[in-house]
Amino acid sequence: MSTPSTPDAGTAPSVRKEGAPPGRGTAGGRRKREFTTRQGLLIAAFMAPAAVFVALFTYYPMIAGSQMAFRNWNLTDLTDTSWVGLKNFREVFTDPAWSTVVDNTVLWVVGSIVPQLVIGFAIALWLRRRFRFRGLYQALIFFPWAISGFLIGILFRWLFNSEFGVVNDLLQKAGLIDEPIAWLADPQTAMIAVLIANVWYGVTFFAIMILAALQSIPDELYEAAALDGAGKARTLFQITIPYIRTTLALTVLLRVIWIFNFPDLIFGMTGGGPNDETHIVTTWMVKITQQGDYGKASALGLLVVAVLMVFAVFFLLATRERRIPARGTGKRGVRS
């Protein structure tokens, strides 16, 4: 292999141990290249396939779909697809189910992300110190990530089955309940059940991302904190969290977007029932699409994109990195 010129280059990613500091990469160190026409052509040629696919099969249908939101576009009657302005949006907002859908969506996002973040953070902190079988442990708790949201829905639908579900059986054996609970028949317990399923699924992602970030914190910072006599809580809030805030912010942002746009699990588990009481915006969209009202579904879709964009902008502004002086001063902090 070619001459490794930095101390770290010998351990190329293929062999770099998981604990290696991801560091700040080459940011700041990279020179802005003046590129020639030839390089310009290379950039264009290399970007082209990705751009073509995404433009043709993601952006084009999305933009074409957006205009359906302002048209009368219903599969039950395609003779009139005229421009109707904001009618579809009005229908969305005046739908009796709308407030339930909004409440559920908020509950779904917040009620999923908070436990995922907290439990994931705890697991990451506990996994930081090496122990035997840590790699195996990581691989095992990572398994839920291999499963589709839809199948997770089905899996938990079986676990929460009122008659033959193992959840009721275990709770009864533990003496916590006397009678089996019809979890998915009551809107409130059904929401709890879908949230439990989503937490089961999503904790690992946080644990993995946070663990990787934790491993980039130079030990010197903790040693200094220990010398100052800082307790556990202070160390956590004044060193650990500030140091990994970029990762935390990006992970939370990405997860909020994904969870918001994740009809699969609820679709498989309750199908939005009972009585449409567990719908979130995107499962509601599934239902409306299946009923054939593409206009109304597109209006909902545009609302989703708009809400998520506004959220992303505000979130990125609010969590914009304020460089803390400690970053990059530790021996392990700067690499490559």
Binding site: A12, P13, T26, F143, A146, I147, I154, E163, L250, L300
Partner: protein, 278 residues
């Protein structure tokens, strides 16, 4: 050194980690046990946590009355081809985004982020019409093309993180030794990147393997169904046949779990290398 660990702390830690492990694995255990019970025993009381007799009846049903083998092959073909092509395309764009500075770069990255915000349902109608025009409805190639587009944005960002972790000096040295930029990419960079590329492929494969809604929309004939679509078919009737469903679920989960087990280290690195850098 991350501070001292007390005995009480260790006990709390391993208790919690142990409980989480049980919680993580139990649903998978339970669905497997259910799939191995004779259909009549699934609804027997008390619930059997370790059945007295195991039966493959549910699995036999899947390949006898249902045509699950075809669905598995469809999913395998579609996910492999789409995953591989998406990985190749993303490698090119990730390389460019990691190694060059140019004016539209941040716009391209933002465009990739926005794709994550688009609910697939807003695009379904026009996508269906587009595929009709291309004569690719109910065609595995059509699904492959759409899945490539779904995979590329995130895969590009993931691979870009990998590329950025490799020092520029590696290629510069190769170029001083007389290789062209392209030669340096192919002969030096790609071999070093191999774990990242494998991880990206597996990630793409699993995503395509698991995708439901696009597949339901674009594939209507039974012989073209993918596995998630078939599972969806199982529940559209009023009663769920939990025996077949469990067996089908196990067969669906197993391949992706095996892949993750082999590659989880690399996938973890792939997911994190981009994001940790911010």
């Amino acid at each position: 050194m991350i501070g001292k660990e007390t005995t009480a702390g260790r006990v709390t830690k391993f208790t919690f980690l142990g409980l989480w492990l049980v919680f993580s694995l139990f649903p998978l255990y339970w669905i497997t046990v259910t799939s191995l019970k004779a259909p009549g025993d699934i609804f027997a009381f008390p619930l059997a946590y370790w059945p007295e007799r195991f039966s493959l009846e549910n699995y036999q049903g899947l390949f006898g009355t249902a045509d699950f083998g075809t669905y598995l092959v469809n999913s395998l073909v579609v996910a492999t081809v789409a995953g591989a092509v998406a990985t190749a395309i993303s490698t090119l764009s990730a390389y460019v985004l990691a190694r060059f500075e140019f004016r539209t770069k941040s716009a391209l990255l933002m465009a990739a982020l926005v794709t994550q915000m688009i609910p697939s349902f807003i695009a379904l109608g026009p996508l269906y019409l587009l595929m009709t025009d291309l004569r690719l409805v109910d065609n595995r190639l059509g699904l492959v093309l759409v899945y490539i587009a779904v995979c590329v944005p995130f895969c590009t960002v993931m691979l870009r993180g990998f590329f950025e972790n490799i020092p520029d000096a590696l290629e510069e040295a190769a170029m001083i030794d007389g290789l062209s930029r392209f030669g340096a990419l192919v002969r030096v960079l790609l071999p070093v990147m191999r774990p990242g590329i494998v991880a990206a492929f597996i990630f793409n494969f699993v995503n395509c393997w698991n995708e439901l809604f696009l597949s339901v929309t674009l594939m209507n004939s039974d012989s073209n169904k993918t596995v998630p679509t078939a599972l969806n078919g199982f529940i559209s009737s009023f009663n769920i046949d939990w025996g077949s469903m469990s067996a089908a679920a196990v067969l669906t989960i197993l391949p992706t779990m095996v892949l993750f087990a082999f590659a989880s280290r690399h996938i973890v690195q792939g997911l994190t290398s981009g994001a940790v850098k911010g």
